[in-house]
Symmetry: C2
DNA sequence: GGTTTTGTGATTAATCGAGTTACCGTGCCC
DNA sequence: GGGCACGGTAACTCGATTAATCACAAAACC
């Protein structure tokens, strides 16, 4: 612990960004110290003094702290703006290289053939949002979109909706009246409506309620339905495409797969 | 191994981005398979079949693969563009939250007082570049900048140089003639020159050559000198500010710290 | 000169991930 | 029906990191 409440959050995040525990502790320790020695750092943070040196060295190599080679040596954190920018750069570089590598690798013989009727499950707020944008962009005739939770109505989503060509019919619904108003404001082009999907929303049998996230139907041939699991706030979705049998099949599968009931939060 | 050469590179990168080995293997396995079962995947990749399921679940939770809940269940990777976008989003979100947390935490009593004459060491290409931009932006009178290696002349750097107000004297040097030409093209406003720093560049005594990276002197009061270690390609720098004794002191320190000789590559 | 700091290295303990095996349910072929 | 390959889950072993201590040499301080 670092004393302050949100310091621990910072440590947590730094670890998610790839730092070790000691490294993360030392870094936030330094941001609240401006400049300090190993001893001072080990007092503030719960990092044993003898391990501070290693941690700092690692941090320096990643461009997050500077070292003054005096005796005793002093450390200081790079200014916040520079630090975040550096982290961003590193990541951006990696993603870029990854993208390159993956392009050079596609295809190894045949993939399995698969039945016509496909239903895929996916999870993760960002991923589902990206898929949503993707689908919005490739619509030909008609889009039906229902937003079940205000938190899903992001900037990016509104942009995507506004980017829909005007010759495509755009129907956007919301589960509540105020949400609908918000949508009408953000996407004036769209025909908005309220709900019509309470049957999806309400609790089913005795199981606890599962909040409906979004429902997207493109050209009556591709559908994406998501729900938000109550506690973990994680969004999960099912996604179907390319079949002539219409919605009913999907809806049935939806039920069958328990998407509307409970499902163990992904690990 | 995955057969293909650059597949391993992708795996490497994915691990750096936070995935476990199995997860990384499964993901690239899927990108070259379009759609596949656990069995197929375990054949392509060297991941034991029984562990494919866990890996995939993790990947799904992160929004990188989709699962078809049939029997046998099928997996497929999210399209490359969506995947990278999702990774980007996740990271961006974390960095953003980190930034918030760290702002709420600054300052814990006094930092150590430190001597007037400060020399700080830092490392990492991105970090040094950021610091360079930072310094360029806060110059008042004069900027002297020497580029020792063409790879350092990035887009971003050129932008920063061009953003320097015209009432600030801007001197930009290069170690070679062609490099100077490139700079003159990219930054027409600047007064360019060649080298003048061979004494820094050449090998010293019998030690192997250390390539000079960049040298930046702002308002004659702040200096940043970097070198690029031959093998690891890592850039390391020293950075000094706020003293009236001019360059000489720094230069001497420079030598004393062996920046121009060899130094063990950070870990 | 003696004592406290400072820094490095080695050592132990705990954690986590890689790799393996055992086991249950389901369909399929004999 | 009995066996058998396949699909899926869950346990366990082993090895590599990492967190946490300890021992010790070199400086710095009084």
């Amino acid at each position: 612990m670092d004393g302050t409440e949100s310091a621990e959050q910072a440590i947590e995040l730094l670890q998610q960004l790839g730092l070790k525990e000691y490294e993360a502790c030392c870094f936030v320790g330094l941001t609240r110290l401006d400049t300090g020695t190993a001893k001072r750092l080990s007092e503030i943070t719960e990092v044993p003094r003898t391990r501070v040196y290693d941690a700092i060295r690692m941090l320096e190599a990643q461009g997050l702290v500077e070292i003054q080679h005096s005796s005793p040596q002093r450390f200081r954190a790079v200014p916040l703006g520079e630090a975040t920018e550096t982290l961003r750069d590193q990541y951006e570089e990696r993603v870029e290289r990854l993208s390159q590598s993956l392009e050079d690798v596609e295809a190894v013989g045949e993939g399995d053939e698969s039945p016509v009727q496909q239903v895929w499950a996916m999870a993760g707020r960002d991923a589902i949002e990206n898929r949503t944008n993707q689908l919005l962009g490739q619509a030909d005739d008609e889009i039906v979109f229902v937003v079940g939770d205000g938190s899903l109505l992001t900037e990016e989503l509104i942009d995507s909706l506004n980017a829909v060509p005007s010759d495509i019919e755009l129907l956007v619904g919301a589960l509540t009246e105020p949400l609908e108003a918000e949508i009408r404001r953000g996407v004036p082009e769209a025909t908005t409506f309220v709900s019509g999907l309470e049957w999806l929303h309400g609790e089913r049998a005795t199981e606890e309620a599962t909040a409906i996230g979004r429902l997207l139907l493109v050209d009556r041939s591709t559908i994406l339905v998501s729900s938000i699991v109550p506690e973990s706030k994680e969004e999960q979705a099912i996604f179907g495409e390319g079949f002539g049998n219409g919605l009913v099949v999907i809806a049935r599968r939806l039920m069958a797969q328990g998407l509307l009931g409970t499902r163990d939060p992904a690990q």
